[in-house]
Symmetry: C2
Subunit: 176 residues, 2 copies
């Protein structure tokens, strides 16, 4: 793959068809449990039902009218400027092209434009998530904490964090 990829088309509004898009994307990665995929889809439902007050923002990367990756993030309740990145997934056959990095970078830009100070990402300490953890480290995140046996016995939670600079609202995704 050539290092330089054209940016995909970004979309922030959430449509009913995104339920299936999110299911397809998360399934294609092969790392999520079925019950985790159900939760990913439930967040789409929450967003469709309650709008921005759901606390869930979405960013879809589209190529030829099809979602090839997405991120879901939102402000953490009871905090000023701390955001959680809840989900990020790139279609299996589109991985390795820098799309994940672009999704994360664009999400951070939107979060900064909304006044965010820092982004948290929680993931598993299991071996299957090692490439995921390396990805976050390459993207400028650091490990803030490891909670042993959090998800289950032998399955730790690793909390990543990245400080970002709040900026004026000029996220390119909003202009797409």
């Amino acid at each position: 793959m050539a290092g330089q990829e054209a940016a995909p088309r970004w979309r922030c509004d959430v449509l009913p068809g995104d339920r299936e898009a999110v299911r397809r994307l998360t399934q294609s990665t092969g790392v999520f449990h079925p019950f985790e995929i159900d939760v990913a889809v439930e967040l789409v439902d929450e967003r469709l039902a309650r709008g921005p007050s759901s606390g869930y923002e979405f960013l879809f990367a589209e190529e030829n009218g099809e979602a090839v990756g997405y991120a879901c993030f939102g402000p953490i309740a009871l905090t000023q400027g701390s955001y959680d990145l809840y989900w990020i997934a790139v279609a299996k056959d589109r991985q390795g092209c820098g799309l994940g990095r672009m999704l994360l970078s664009e999400s951070e830009r939107l979060i900064a434009a909304a006044g965010g100070r820092q982004v948290y990402i929680e993931t598993s300490g299991r071996d299957v998530y090692e490439p995921t953890r390396q990805f976050y480290l390459r993207c400028g995140y650091r490990i803030a904490a490891v909670l042993g046996d959090f998800y289950a016995a032998g399955d730790d939670k690793v909390i990543f964090v990245k400080a970002i600079r709040p900026s004026a609202a000029e996220g390119s995704a909003r202009r797409a």
Copy 2:
């Protein structure tokens, strides 16, 4: 105060009047922001509306028919056996008598009876929470992580954890 106190009457079912009880108890402590108190009350609403599927369990300590303290806890989504203690509060004029310790101990017993392996408590690193943090340490919790500037600039999140032993369902509160 004498060290030995009689156990209060425990109550696990949640009643409409508990909205005001929770507001009164959390306000009386003097440490919670108004928007935090609103969230505490919202959890009662969630429980009243959705029952156990809300994910919020309550434990009230009653004396002479009045709630003098309460705890709210529940299983953490996507985990096997990890629980969050969301709230614990004792009426200002009943503090210092061991009621908080009894509430926490009884909550842990109920969590263990439900199959919980460990209990997490998140609190603020602000000075006003120093007695709270000392209380958790005295009750056998350890600091698992500190997330800097989590709640706001200069306001860290401190995550406590305690491993508990899952037990057969015999919580005394269920029999009270």
